[in-house]
Amino acid sequence: MAVEDVAASAASHAMTPGEYVAHHLKFWSTDPDFDGVFNLAVFHIDTILFSVLLAGLTFWVLWLAATRATSGVPGRFQSAVEVLVEFVHNETKGIISNETSRNAVAPLGLSIFIWVTFMNTMDLFPVDLFPVIWSGIYSLFGGDPAHAYLRVLPTADVSGAMGLSISVLLISIYYNIKIKGALGWGHELVTAPFGTSRNPILAAILGVVNFAMQMVEFISKTLSHGLRLFGNMYAGELIFLLIAMMGGAFTLSGTGFMLVIGHIIAGLAWAIFHILIILLQAFIFMMLALVYIGQAHDTH
């Protein structure tokens, strides 16, 4: 039964390129028919599952390195983790001058960097690998394999990437209140960047303008922070899908063979380039998170 279902699902993959891409772009969602943009009641189970699993993996890797730390000559794994920790610590020292905040923010930076790297690395798996396994499991449990959607990249989901950047926003709001006090931060919200004046009417107008500018600044920082990561990973995933379609178009003809050779060459080149993008985007996300939290420490 399961074999027939898997074969049927394999036959159903003889779909048009548009259908193939559309099938691979759908999430394993609590409401699969939802086509809109924003709905707080719909959850993407695959994003949540993979991001939690990879967070557990991050935690486990760092815990391994921490508990096995010896004062003797370190091994390779130990040295690698130490290099990472020292790198993040140096970056944090340059950005955040407050010692007590650094005790909390430097580990946050390390976690962000390693977790986002792990989440981004899910892009390097073959595009069809996890969805085919998942549709096999889905049909074992009596579901229709054509409706078994799975997307393995949590950061290629707007919810995933924006979730990370909204968390950074909440942390920076917390540090704003902690360092400047609630009243102090409130005062800054209505007096920066344009200043204030003695005249109460003018001060009120300036206060409204300042507050609007501050809100725009917060919103644009958070949006760009998350969407940058999302855009890079989404574009990478789409290009991997297109390359996979090139390989899937194998026929016993001249064009067919050239397409497969193109698939191998393009896939290799793009995968190698994508390794750089993965690390770079995780690094940029971490640095910007540190910069935004550091900005919460500045007073005007």
């Binding site: 548009g18 559309a22 969407l227 890079n232 985007q281």
Partner: protein, 87 residues
Amino acid sequence: MEVISFVALASGLIIGLGAVGACIGIGIMGSKFLEASARQPELMGELQTRMFLLVGLIDAAFIIGTGVALWFATANPFLAQIAQIAQ
């Protein structure tokens, strides 16, 4: 038919114009980095870190645009809207 041709044109424009902006920006930044490295080679490592950070920031809008354009080019969402209007 018009929708398909307009979407194709739009995808090309999005990718092309985004690439123009991103490449010129990175070209300017890279040339400044090379000048600074030639002037003060001891700062090369630190400047390189900052340079990669800026590469990511400059490429952001361009890559988001490329993702959207590739999505239009392959799984065109406007065709579904036409089908809905036709009903």
